[in-house]
Symmetry: C2
């Protein structure tokens, strides 16, 4: 494969994670050190920055400041949730992207994101091929939801899982100090896949965690849920529950969206979230003191408790993408192939973009218990190696020292 | 002062903190190493454990497990919110306490808590003196609210402040990734004093934090609040707000409890908390995407991000209480006397229990800005030294390794 000389673009897309910037750093640092890459451009707000020709010259950044990206949560270049149209229907955006690529002689495009971003990657790659413009397009995976197909797991998931497990352990201790009754309901992200909610069970495995865990992979039954909670509460005076935001009834309706029914009178989802709503229902049913806690954004940006394994893998995903592209690969996403027996090992492999795009990987049913209110040991064995290692992120005055980028626009 | 030989009781009371167990350890470890203290008893659920004669023999615990108390959040012995009656009105509880003290030959009583606990301490001490039963009673301060009188600050506050500042920095990054409008409202504990809410401003000081901070020390005005938010949002497309749960209108009504008024139609506080309610109001006013986040229990039990300074001081407060009592002191609370100029220094002093009981220390008005929507530099200078140092708490499989006590009942 002949050497392809030109600029590269790195873009970040979708919801942020604690380690998405570690992947960006993997791309940027490797690209800056690669001779055939003439300029490293950071797209402001993902593909929108390309369309707007708002591209930062990453070579103008202070290297020490760039290195801090490894420990800086959320998307430092800015993100977007922009979905490209089908190019056969409307190719306006694609023409514009080609124009910008030509203007800056962009020959490498790295896109860091989840399902939709891999779809974006795929469409751009196919369009460039069709137009005969040589450009190597690589996807770098990212999502706390861990629902990307074709990879053992996704960067960002493990750090969120670690935050969730750690917080559940701490809240468990807090919720058990009084000798009076107390029920705690913790709401965890993950609309369609229960990887994050299931991770709350790590806390239980470690000695202090939820009694019940509900994932969106099984149908939710309010009566059964209330019976589960009451059984534990009646026996111990306490009950701690972790629920995925995506739990839904058998007909597919999200519990969080359920309207008040004639029989139960619950379902005031307009204010607060699912945790508050379930807390209200459980309170009415049991008379107990109930507290609903939504982990909210904290769980996806908790870089202070990030997994070193996650950070290192996120960085390597970016680095691998650049190295593969330079060596001639295109149209692939970096994926992880892992073994856990005899010690955890992660290999970086390449998967076709169109295999990973638009498919959601869910928790296998056999990793969830029969009652649908907890996870089995294989789930724990799967997640545990991923959360290992401490970030030891740089601090200043005992507070996180996040990267402060200059963001100089490319000429 | 002659040597007083006998058992001691340590009790924990009120809401838990990340470091209350470090104080318990300071008491227990020092007491176990003190010859004239014949037995170290841990009261189950504070004064309730004394009344119920439910006392754990702390000498039966594995020393290594006890040492983990330094890094274990919430009250390991259990807590209570039991208020003793006025002994002149009803002395039933006091008679029972004396009976238990006599039964176990308790000559030292250490009570670890906030305002109410110091009041409990004070009443017990006075009763024992009146009855001629020699017992040295010492208060060990604790409260994330930092509202205890007579001390520079309270153990537990700094670790909560550090959690709040760190989380605000991370959420700030998360809330700024899209180029679309976004308003974030973070609800922070502290019903009557704004020490914790004000600590959110540390995040702003460090580069990434709330634009507006509202403390309960000033009256809240909804119109002014909305104008503040809109001014920043209109200019930058973003706005991040930290509010104390205790913000209240000029007439004293908590904002969280305000009912819907005829003019504005807001105030659905029945579900979710203040953050959700304010988010709803701001959304209606601005049309922006608004997210309300309640830090909830996470902020008071976040031992994984605890301040080493706080842990060490909490331990020393317990240790000092025992040493002072053994040397003959009674009726005092351990307090901190600190200097910040020329480097932070903390001295452990003793204050009379009746000076500290039942008074709430608030943030000085001059440390809050004139507009009542932020704090001034003296506030930052006050808090910053307290959050320094990392806990480096022991972990097992990358998750917190909390103390697991045997809790053997004393014979």
């Amino acid at each position: 494969m002949s050497e392809l000389k030109g600029a590269c673009i790195i873009g970040q897309s979708g919801g942020p994670t604690a380690v998405i910037n570690a992947s960006a750093l993997g791309v940027i640092r490797t690209a800056l050190d690669t001779d055939c890459i003439t300029q490293v451009l950071g797209a402001a707000n993902g593909i929108k920055g390309v369309l707007d020709d708002k591209l930062y010259d990453m070579g103008k950044e202070d290297p020490a400041e760039l290195d801090l990206l490894k420990y800086t949560p959320s998307s430092a270049l800015g993100s977007c949730r922009y979905k490209l149209s089908d190019p056969d229907v409307d190719d306006t955006d694609y023409k514009r992207i080609l124009e910008i690529f030509q203007k800056h002689n962009v020959r490498y495009f790295f896109y860091n994101g989840g399902n939709d971003s891999m779809d974006t990657c795929n469409k751009i790659s196919k369009y460039m091929q069709k137009m005969g413009y040589e450009c190597r397009v690589m996807g770098v995976p990212k999502t706390i939801d861990n629902d990307l197909n074709g990879t053992d797991h996704c960067p960002g998931f493990a750090s969120a899982a670690k935050f969730i497990a750690t917080s559940c352990m701490e809240v468990h201790r807090d919720a058990h100090v009084y000798d009076t009754g107390m029920i705690t309901i913790i709401e965890i992200m993950g609309r369609h896949a229960g990887w994050l909610a299931g991770s709350a069970a790590l806390a239980t495995w470690a000695g202090f965690g939820p009694d019940l865990v509900y994932l969106p992979e099984t149908d939710f039954d309010m009566d059964k849920f209330l019976a589960d909670v009451k059984a534990i509460y009646d026996k111990t005076g306490k009950c701690m529950v972790a629920v995925s935001e995506g739990i839904h009834y058998a007909d597919g309706t999200f519990v969080s969206e359920a309207k008040a029914s004639a029989t139960d009178g619950f379902g005031h989802a307009q204010l607060g979230g699912l945790a508050a709503m379930l807390a209200d229902i459980v309170k009415k049913e049991t008379g107990a003191k109930v507290r609903g806690i939504e982990l909210s954004l904290l769980q996806r940006c908790g870089s202070h408790v990030a997994s070193k394994t996650d950070i290192d893998e996120a960085f390597m995903a970016g680095k691998t993408a650049v190295e593969a592209a330079v060596s001639g690969v295109t149209d692939k996403m970096v994926a992880f192939q892992c073994t856990r027996e005899g010690g955890y090992k992660c290999e970086y492999v390449l998967e076709p973009l169109d295999i990973v795009a638009n498919i959601e990987k869910k928790v296998p049913r056999e990793w969830i218990n029969a009652a649908g209110n907890g996870v089995e040991q294989p789930f724990i064995d799967y997640v545990l190696p991923l959360i290992q290692g401490e970030a030891n992120a740089p601090k200043e005055h005992a507070l996180p020292r996040f990267a402060k980028l200059k963001k100089v626009l490319a000429e």
